[in-house]
Symmetry: D2
Subunit: 285 residues, 4 copies
């Protein structure tokens, strides 16, 4: 893997944005290896993702903001710069169903997910076998109706202490409170929902799908916002089902979907391929 | 194509159903070429589709009911027998968007759809070029808020006069009234909805999908009941979209989906591969 | 799960086959819960899969052959009867890539694969962590050019000693010799090939796919015969790729495919849903 | 639709390419609306697609080459600039099977394909109904073993006279000779092959697929080179089949595939989204 920097910007459309960024990188002796640029004509927002090799790049990335700020101000940009060498710190939340957890940890070990996983947080003790197997620290924090506030406070402190960049809800069966989410805004919490959203919002989507007699079931990975199952969608996929499939068959087929859909979303996020804008995402896979 | 008969039955599960039907056909000198049998354990309903060659079959199919009735009574069956040689009479309803109409007529000419199409009914005059091209009679019946009752009455009379077996709503933009539907029960009216139901029920589903930022859009073909977009689903499919796709791109990708999804549903219906039970379908493609 | 028996038959097409089987089961007080019957008109072969509840069935399944033989003889059948309660003994062969192994063992623990796995045979020692984790016996048998004959003999003895019903080659990198395969005919050895066969037969299919610039890559699960990559196909699937995907990306995407394609094939085999006929399979999923 | 220019370049990777192009457009008062840039690290080739609004652009596009040449020379580029307002002239070649022709003409009328279609060339007279229906000139040129050279000469003269930019082989059953292809290099001839290439190269791919017992069939759209079925692939897709499908079913399912795969490829080509490099394509849909 080449050592690169990735710049993600969004700003009102205006002439000169691409030229200004590309010129800045070129003058700093960077070699651009990939550009993705998209103009949303509905909202007149220009999204840019630019990636360049750091070898020979003249700007110390620790001071990048200072150098880039004039351009950002000129075009009124929201922006962030990331290093491909930086491995974000990811906390995985999980409850009883362990298929997404086991899958993410396996991919992590194979190098598919460029991140650190300093903690798994669970409200069920069963997953210890997986954290032991992969040598990942586990924190069991039971969450009940009564202790929810304290439990979340405990979670927040742990996440902050560890400097967590991203929370992945890998079939975590608790709804995060608005207070929790104020600490971790949308682009820092990814969930997997076991339906093709917005169909079958809420609980027991496989039962709903079975009742309705659909011919495909889906899974959706999205950023988490305060409105349940309404956050910006990162990835979705479906699999064919028939009248032969009982609810347990839907659950089984759903597992395969959920694993790949969540893994793709997490990977794209970690590789800085996802831009949030409005209530949607732009993904440059 | 071999000349066959198809028997479709549903009954409470009980021992001996398959043996009784198969034995009846065998004793009448029929050669069974395909059987599909499914037990819905939730409702304890046994569904059977049995198809046999008519060559040498001893029972005159015009008197089949009389011969089969004892078995049907013994097992408390709902049943119907169909002939593969019978070409159901199909009326296609269409409004302004003609892609499904053009597609169905093309398939019909190629022999993909084993039916007659004695009439196309349209509330828009533009489709005359297609009915002329394929030499299909066209009846333009404008439907407005004011004349809806009369217009539907006119449609019903026409359909009854022509002995229509199946109505296909090929992007027909009017909601059929309960009074209309009492004349043509669910298994006689097939619709195509341009979303992955139950997501985006109702109008402008592509706009809804665009707003929500989904990563797949779908199409759904279903039998029509009195509750809008809630009838038993026959077939669904999806296609991938991204932030690059504007509403007009969704509409364009949707057209390709709608054509194949509707055509599959109609074909399966015509080939007697669909069994309605409860609010669902069993399809034996 | 209901306790059932499954009868799989193939015979020249003739009147009365379905009736004879269904009548036999009915007279023995069996309740048929599913039938799939397919007539291959090209070869005039009739395939039947019939499944019935054993509760109350009057024939002791240990003596089934004796009771059924007259029917089998009358119709010149190839047939076998299986019990859904029987858990076939499966040996998994694996080399260096462990994703299919890990996936199969996970599914096995969740109950997706109705079988016993008394042994994993490996020509690489690395997979011991997985067999330890799932408490499955591991036998490391190194295979080199020089010792291949002895190594296979050792494998055969082990498999026979354990009464193995099915061998699953889960990315096993050795070609089995004709001598080995005489001990284990086609319907007892399942392989996963990491391409959409018959494209990219042989070694390094991902490299071949990359060179050719295909827009989809595939995986194929098939029964193993003496001709490399030519056995009857059980299941295939594909995933979209683009010019952005390097070989390592194809490998990564391929892993996800291989896991689900192999798991589906193994599951269908174990559930007695696969009939081999000629060089093909009929699958009743 | 906005009036835009599209620049497609490929060159050895070097610092400053993006900056130079973007700066050139900016200084000429162009507003860049989309950029796609891909570095092929294997061959060290940088591919750029840049699209900008022409409204207010200071360079007369008829003289673009003169202004851009210094940049092209500096980076040793292959390049071409296109106008979104230019509607390429497309000739469709067709034989007996008319489904792709009918589909392309329908899409053309709906505005899905931004091109002119001044001619359909056919070695079969049956398609006249379609060219009449859509008011497209038809030239029937019979091709036999004996007259092939003369027939191709006649085709070439017609194409040159009409200033044809792109030839689409819509199930055209003749192999174009090397002499013909020298007049129309790869990026000017698109074919649809009714298999998932490179599986089932050559004739009767559906028969080959049927014999092999595959579980998916495909279609491939590719640029035509002198080696049969070996040209750079633009798009592929597949559909599921089973033992139930006879050859005529594969043909029917194949038709639906061929239509959409060819239409996508042609559309992407016309929208200047396809870059040929080596034996492959990069597609920026």
């Amino acid at each position: 893997m080449i050592d690169t920097a990735i710049l993600l910007t969004s700003c009102p459309d205006q002439k000169g944005v691409t030229a200004a960024i590309a010129d800045f990188i070129y003058r700093s002796n960077g070699n651009i290896v990939r550009v993705d640029e998209h103009l949303d004509t509905e909202h007149n927002i220009l999204l840019v993702r630019m990636e360049w090799e750091l070898s020979g790049f003249a700007v110390d990335m620790r001071t990048f903001a200072r150098h880039f700020e004039p351009i950002a101000e000129r075009f009124n940009m929201h922006w962030r710069a990331e290093l491909s060498s930086y491995r974000p710190k990811v906390a995985i939340f999980v409850s009883r169903y362990d298929h997404c957890l086991a899958d993410l940890l396996y991919r992590h070990r194979l190098g598919e997910l460029p991140c650190e996983i300093p903690i798994v947080i669970c409200n069920h003790p069963d997953v210890v076998q997986w954290t032991d197997f992969y040598h990942i620290p586990l924190q069991v924090i039971e969450v009940t109706k009564e202790n929810k506030k304290e439990a979340e406070q405990q979670q927040i402190e742990l996440l902050q202490m560890l400097g967590i960049d991203l929370i992945v809800l890998a079939r975590y069966m608790q709804v995060l409170s608005p207070e929790f989410l104020q600490q971790f805004p949308p682009h820092r919490v990814i969930n997997i929902h076991h339906s093709f959203l917005p169909a079958f919002v809420g609980g027991k989507p496989h039962h709903q799908a079975y009742e309705r007699g659909v011919k495909l079931i889906g899974a959706t990975s999205h950023y988490v916002t305060e409105v349940l199952d309404q956050g910006p969608i990162i990835e979705q996929d479906v699999v064919r089902v028939s009248h032969r499939d009982r609810i347990e068959d839907l659950v089984q087929k759903g597992r395969d979907l959920e694993k790949v859909v969540l893994a793709r979303a997490v990977r794209w996020h970690l590789e800085n391929r996802v831009l949030l804008y409005g209530k949607k995402t732009a993904v440059f896979p």
